[in-house]
């Protein structure tokens, strides 16, 4: 697995430069708590053999807003909407309530301190 560090400012630029629809496909978007920071990851994989997984990651603090990559990767909205509900991070123009019922506290996957 190839890990490439990036930050929220030039995230879109990096992914836009990397992602070619005929070469790679977007797998999923993920977030992991590391201390008080949050590590947000974008997984890509290329079609050819041997397929290598490429992971873009950015360390953010929980209240920062992550830029959505819907305009680059058309099918990313599902992953973003899920992550917004489960990890309680902010993604631009993504609403809550896709996964969880309104009568439930958000961010159930966050570790209770």
């Amino acid at each position: 697995m190839k890990k490439i560090e990036t930050n929220l400012a030039d995230l879109k630029k990096d992914i836009g430069a990397f992602y070619k629809p005929e070469l790679h496909h977007f797998i999923v978007m993920n977030a992991v708590q590391s201390g008080d920071k949050m590590e947000v990851q974008w997984f890509f994989n290329d079609y050819a053999y041997p397929g290598e997984t490429t992971c873009f990651y950015a360390l953010i603090s929980p209240e920062e807003e992550v830029p959505g990559i819907k305009d680059i990767v058309a099918s990313a909205w599902v992953a973003e909407a899920e992550l917004v509900d489960l990890m309680n991070i902010k993604v631009e123009n993504t609403m809550k309530g896709f996964v969880l019922e309104p009568d439930f506290e958000s961010g159930p996957l966050l570790k209770k301190k």
């Binding site: 969880l100 019922e101 009568d103 159930p108």
Partner: protein, 174 residues
Amino acid sequence: MNLAPYRKKSPWILHYNAGGCNGCDIEILACLSPKYDIERFGMINTGNPKQSDILLVTGPVTKRSRERLVEIYAQMPEPKVVISCGACASTGGVFRGMYNCEGGVDQFIPVDVYVCGCGTRPEQIIDGVVQALAILEKKTKGLEESVKLKKEAVKEGLQLNRRHIADEIKPVLT
């Protein structure tokens, strides 16, 4: 004329997945297949709550499908029997205590037969249905109370207001 004996000769089943893995559902589908042909007992899989007698529920009731489950139960005309298929429908199984599901169907609606096993074999489902038929014969047309669904019986002949019930269980849940 006593028509109760004929109930168990033509049970029409309705199947609802309240959020489990599809294991028990495909076993219910396999029950329709020529190998175990449950139409022998006169069963039809009607997709329509208003015409069915037996409700087969699979899966631990997730928070989003709970209201739909109660609505379907309320739409079915009495006498009716509820069968919970599989460990997770009966008691929550491996999903007990997960944040988005209640342990078991009987937290919402009265369950008559619990079919054990994960996943259940079609034979077990058929056994459960056969036991349910014996219960169905003894049932009255009165409404039943559930663990969470505290509600006094509606008068005979009146249609149940399902919205009302669904609203009523909300405070209990949250």
